[in-house]
Amino acid sequence: MSTAATLAAPGPRLGLLGWLTTTNHKQIGVLYMATTLGFFVVAGVMALLIRADLTVPNHPIVERQTYAELFTLHGTGMIFLVIAPFGLGLANYILPLQIGAPDMAYPRLNALSYWLFLLGGLVLMSGLLTRDGAAAAGWVAYAPLSTTGSPGSGMDLWIVGLLMVSASSIMTAINLIATTLLYRAPGMIMWRIPVFCWDMVVTSLIILMAFPPLAATLAMLLIDRRLGGHAFDPSQGGSAVVYQHLFWFFGHPEVYVMVLPYFGMITEIIPVFSRKPVFGYTAFVLTTLAIAGLSMTVWAHHMFTTGAVVNPFFSAMSLLIAVPTGIKYVNWIGTMWGGAIVFPTAMLFAVGFLLNFLIGGVTGVMIASPPIDFWAEDTYFIVAHMHYVLGGGSLFALFAAVYYWFPKITGVMLRDGWGRLQFWLMFVGFNATFWPMHMLGLWGMQRRVVTYPALPGWGTANLIASLGSAVLAAGVLVFLWNLWVSLRLPVPAGPDPWGGYTLEWATTSPPPEFNFETIPPIRSERPVFDLHHPGAAS
């Protein structure tokens, strides 16, 4: 056990000016994560309004325009302002620590990334304040609905906001890759960096491949809307199908930007609480790379029903991507196998991830089949599938990560009792909300409808979903309460409350400004474990 005497003093507390001007990776990471929490609450309230609206058949409680704004901003917000940037924010904080670096490679670029992200998110949402309302064309913003079909300025603000967010993501991706390639501590060869770092490097590569096309697409959309362009206007030689191609060429890789970081997080957490090394480190890295490669070849599975793409190719690629993803389950189960497992809140959420994500995974295989997709596409089956991946999967892993790294970041523990209550509320609430949507989709309930007829079963399934969303929200409230209590009545965490494996646990909580005074020798991907168990085979 490292003694406090060998560790430097924690970093100084910052004033307002300090937070506004910081270029330190840890403070920027905290800003990122706190901002995503804010957007999470906003986009979550929107989801609750959507569920409230759909509770009873034929009884919408919001206007059609408002409803469209709600699901557009809920989707855009959760995707671009919560799930994707939380991974980048956590990486900002944790990745330099895990590779033994003093900071990110480009600290000022890093600060620019964060402020662009915050500003972009606010601009995106600011359409709510305009007279015509916010963007209301869905998060996919298909042209021509997003061009001639959306005359209001809310759509322009949405486009400009997303352009800023995508520029921010590209900068962060460059920064993370440069940091990992150039700033590793002596001994930290690439085959020893923690799995989370590998996942962030690969995520960053995907961002570099997918986000420039997104930025180009958004720019074309803006030109079509305001500068007389006709890229997506069929009546002038443009093509609405091309918009879908461009959007999904970004949009499907984006799914992995929202999933790979979370694979990485639980792959840090499961080994520590199983007291074992990760099973199949090499396989894990190779499958992550395979997913990144395949993720660029599957986009048109979102377009099976257009009748305008070569369905068998995209179907084959989409089915194939299930293989490397499935191997990860072998890694996770193999890691727990024969272990000595404990279940603090972080591990509960990690296991919750395994249970939920699996359902999103197998339904993903189903809708990779064009015949099944002809049935399920644009129905609530897709809504269920995608929420099992990003909500039951990524969001559960997000909370696992919060409970795991909160002590490192703040120096105090989150309360385990409140954490357990939060987990069970969210687990039950999540499944009650989204499981019935599988059935609704197969029965034919289409997405993005403000109300629906009272067909047999529809009312009951929607009622269960709406009640479930209230339970889910109660879980989030418990989390906010836990944050409040834990910060107000702090329980000191010490440098290493979990018996962690990676270098962030070899320094103080929170770490000093430049992270380390000394770094333990690095002979494997878990140097702190080696330090504490010199006899154990590594």
Partner: protein
């Protein structure tokens, strides 16, 4: 409509079209595979979390990989996926096959926020509104050829009981066949978000005997093609 509602939900609808029978079959196999794989994985996960609880301070065996397990799992996954692909591909080829001599050819146009059905060969044109959804009358047991497009934003022609939809996109005409095998009245809806009245952009497919279909065509020709929903009724569901 209330009598038809049960058969219109699409809840385990049986097979209303030839294509739906194929899709239902693919679904059944994929569902079995999903339950099988997920079942095995769940058993393994629950085995781990029940069996391998921490009991005491000792370090468990620190093994890092198992080449045989990893290879076998990868091979199994590839085999399962290849089998599913073969099944799905063969089915898709059948579903998308176009009959060279359809009994009816209809041009379907989606617009904000209803549908227009134009029967080829001097047949009638049926145009709906959100309050008066149009009816697509088709002969049972005969191939019906549909050419679909949009007059404005993207829409999607979706009949839940047929387990099938196809997008309506401006500037693109895409074709498919339907062979309805069971007479009845089927609920149809727009599945691609298209703006304010997306949820009200419904239609009905009325599948009647070929004799009744021919008679309907004759009546519509002599009646000078009145607009609106067919007399057979099926108002908004």
């Amino acid at each position: 409509m209330s009598g038809a509602a049960a058969e219109c939900t699409g809840a385990m609808p049986g097979e209303a079209t030839l294509q739906a029978a194929d899709i239902q079959h693919v679904w059944n196999v994929f569902l079995l595979a999903a339950i099988g794989v997920a079942g095995v994985v769940y058993v393994l996960i629950f085995w781990c979390i029940l069996r391998y609880r921490r009991r005491g301070d000792g370090l468990p065996p620190q093994f890092r990989h198992h080449t045989v397990v990893e290879t076998v799992c990868t091979a199994l996954a590839v085999l399962i996926v290849a089998g599913l692909f073969a099944l799905s591909y063969a089915s898709e080829v059948r579903i998308e096959r176009l009959d060279r001599r359809p009994a009816a050819t209809v041009r379907v146009t989606g617009f904000d926020w209803s549908w227009r059905f134009e029967y080829a060969g001097g047949g009638p044109t049926v145009t709906g509104t959100p309050d008066h959804p149009p009816v697509l009358v088709v002969p049972v047991g005969r191939p019906v050829h549909i050419d679909i497009t949009s007059a404005d934003v993207d829409h999607a022609f979706f009949v839940p009981a047929f387990l099938f939809k196809r997008d309506a996109i401006s500037g693109l005409v895409s074709a498919f066949d339907l062979v309805v095998t069971r007479p009845g009245v089927y609920r149809g809806e727009c599945a691609e978000f298209c703006g304010l009245d997306h949820a009200a952009m419904n239609f009905t497919v009325s599948a009647v005997t070929p004799q009744a279909y021919d008679q309907w065509l004759r009546e519509r020709r002599t009646a000078g093609q009145p607009q609106g929903p067919a007399a057979s009724g099926a108002g908004s569901p």
